[in-house]
């Protein structure tokens, strides 16, 4: 049970990091190497907002940090990402790689190189009973957030006007634009939403980790593994990929501790060997 808890925590944080990435790719066909930077900024903003005080500040720091990252995402889309839609993958990868370099430098500038921690609010001490098992409260919050984001995204894409527009933009952007929809604004909103999810992930997970420069690099690789296994552009795929990697990591820690961190990579290599476009993706030519 403890292992299931560990696997779910890992899967939840991976899903939060990957959901925005795959949403953005699904709508705009842009792969964002700087997505991990949004995650890192979410975590760093939370450390600053919470400061060293314990208590309930954490609860408003998380949404404020996520919104801050969403604004940052919007600015990035308008200034840079907008210019690489429909361009070669290499151009997109390098433009966002450039952003990653710049954001890493800016984060180091603002927050310095030392490790920062966010104290867990007191209300999160202790555990609650779920299905007869005692689960740490904070873990339940992380898992709950991931589930809420997953379900929320599904509802958004399925039942709202915005979701309808996003799905239409994937299938036929020209017709959508001809129908009077402001495609530019739509793309900015989707990108900001993706950034918001990454910021939320980084913010909510910040008490669990030590926040430091380099977080962007470590999370982006795992987020890629999750989205690629699931199939780029598929939110469901990202959820399945996150569960798979979460399980593989936890299993690895128990079977072969010194090889555990190779498991996500091996899982990705194995999945792509069988399905080169991921579990829920569509073949790319």
């Amino acid at each position: 049970m403890i292992q299931a808890d560990a696997a779910l925590i890992s899967a939840s944080s991976l899903f939060l990091a990957a959901a925005g990435l795959t949403l953005i790719f699904g709508a705009m066909r842009v792969i964002n190497l700087a997505h991990g930077s949004f995650y890192m900024f979410g975590a760093f903003l939370t450390t600053s907002l919470v400061g060293l005080a314990t208590g309930s500040r954490f609860w408003w720091a998380v949404p404020v940090a996520a919104l801050g990252v969403a604004v940052m995402g919007g600015v990035v889309e308008v200034s840079t990402i907008r210019r690489v839609y429909g361009r070669e993958h290499l151009t997109q990868l390098l433009a966002t790689f450039a952003l990653l370099l710049m954001f890493a430098d800016v984060a180091l500038w603002i927050w310095g190189a030392e490790y920062r921690t966010v104290p867990l609010p007191e209300s999160m001490f202790g555990g609650i009973e779920i299905a007869g098992q005692l689960v740490p409260r904070y873990h339940a919050v992380i898992i709950g957030t991931a589930v809420a984001v997953g379900v929320g995204l599904w509802l958004l894409l399925r039942f709202t006007l915005l979701g309808w527009k996003i799905r239409a933009a994937v299938d036929d952007p020209e017709s959508l634009e001809a129908g009077g929809v402001n495609l530019r604004a739509l793309y900015t909103i989707v990108f900001a939403l993706g950034a918001f999810l990454a910021g939320l992930g980084g913010a909510i997970i910040s008490p669990q980790i030590s926040v430091s420069p380099g977080l962007d690099l470590s999370i982006i690789v795992l987020a890629f593994i999750v989205t690629v296994i699931g199939g780029l552009g598929s939110v469901l795929g990202a959820a399945v990929g996150a569960l798979l990697i979460g399980a593989a990591e936890t299993l690895g820690t128990n079977i072969a501790p010194d090889m555990a961190s190779t498991f996500p990579y091996l899982a990705m290599i194995a999945v792509l060997a069988v399905r080169p476009w991921g579990l829920f993706g569509v073949p790319e030519r």
């Binding site: 990868l93 390098l94 710049m102 495609l183 780029l232």
Partner: protein, 341 residues
């Protein structure tokens, strides 16, 4: 391995190509003589500390040119070339550490190790396309990085392996410089012969229109695999030159950001010119050297320059010189995002 008759059919009108190539090659030979001669003079007369910076740039230039065989000529965006670069450095250092190999044994085996690794990774990843290929090769480089970090007893973990691996004369900075220059020049020559061979032309044809070349009966997968293997071997040689420069190997040589470096150099210098990536490598190393003396925000400036080049001059600085226009790969089959620019 390569059936030339079939590939000849792929090339454009032959007489015209040959004339253009002959004229081009005369210019290139002159350019190379001036370049290599100039670099040799720099190595002989610059203060040692400065010469070592140039030596570093030469090694990375080979890394970038070898990577560009895939990138510029093959149209393959591999984010995993650091595997082979790191493997080259680790081959020399680990052989010396564990089995008492001389530098020369490691140096000779480095390209073999690089080629074998590239063959295996290529077999596994070339079935995937475009982004999936870029991200799968990225996964391989991270896998190697994690392995190098964790297998402490064998690789020395985070600290890596270091020590006096170089034979006496090579440890002399000026001789090490000349050795690096010589090896890089020889490798660049071989790579140039490869990209101008029928094989190289077929590779470019695959980049331009994969389906059409396939319809002509060319085995695209095999060509890409051979290119991947060749590139891996030369990246490993560049890695072994890193040992000449630093007498060490450590996990960061395998990290995915290290794989990004040659791509970044190729794009800054221009990936559609053979020596463009080498120019990019020199700008990168010398620029970094100058900037870190004046500012802590070297990465910020690098990112801004890269962003500007990618958005404004996607054919790099070489494009400014040749006046070449950015050539888009055919994207007809690709789902387009819809927006212009």
């Amino acid at each position: 391995m390569l059936d030339t008759t079939r590939q000849q059919a792929v090339t454009v009108p032959r007489a015209a190509t040959r004339r253009a190539r002959a004229a081009g090659s005369a210019g290139i030979v002159a350019l190379v003589v001036v370049l290599v001669g100039g670099l040799a003079l720099l190595g002989a007369f610059l203060p040692v500390s400065r010469a070592l910076v140039v030596e570093n740039a030469i090694g990375l230039a080979l890394f970038a040119v070898a990577t560009n065989l895939l990138l510029g000529y093959g149209g393959l965006v591999s984010f995993g070339q650091a595997v082979f670069y790191g493997a080259g450095a680790y081959t020399v250092m680990l052989g010396w550490e564990h089995w008492g190999w001389s530098f020369w044994t490691g140096f000779a085996l480095a390209p073999v190790v690089g080629a074998v690794l590239a063959l295996v990774i290529g077999l596994l990843s070339l079935r995937t396309r475009q982004l999936y290929f870029a991200l799968l090769t990225l996964a391989f480089t991270q896998l190697a990085f994690v392995l190098a970090q964790q297998q402490h007893e064998f690789t020395g973990g985070d600290n890596g392996v270091f020590g006096d691996v170089l034979p006496g004369w090579l440890a002399d900075p000026r001789k090490g410089y000349m050795f690096t220059l010589g090896v890089a020049t020889a490798c660049a020559f071989v790579l140039w012969r490869i990209v101008t061979s029928p094989f190289g032309l077929t590779l470019r044809a695959i980049r331009e229109n994969r389906d059409r070349v396939e319809a002509l009966g060319v085995n695209v997968f095999r060509h890409q695999l051979v290119a991947f293997t060749i590139s891996g071997a030369f990246c490993a040689i560049a890695g072994s030159l890193f040992v000449v420069h630093t007498k060490s190997a450590y996990p960061q040589l395998l990290e995915w950001t290290k794989s990004g470096e040659p791509i970044l150099m190729a794009v800054i210098g221009g990936m559609f010119a053979f020596l463009g990536p080498a120019v990019g490598a020199f700008l990168y190393v010398l620029g970094q050297q100058e900037l870190v003396q004046h500012t802590q925000h070297w990465q910020l400036i690098l990112g801004a320059v890269l962003l500007a080049v990618v958005l404004l001059r996607p054919d790099g600085l070489a494009g400014l010189v040749t006046g070449g226009r950015w050539r888009r790969r055919p994207t007809a089959k690709e789902p387009e995002a819809g927006e212009e620019e």
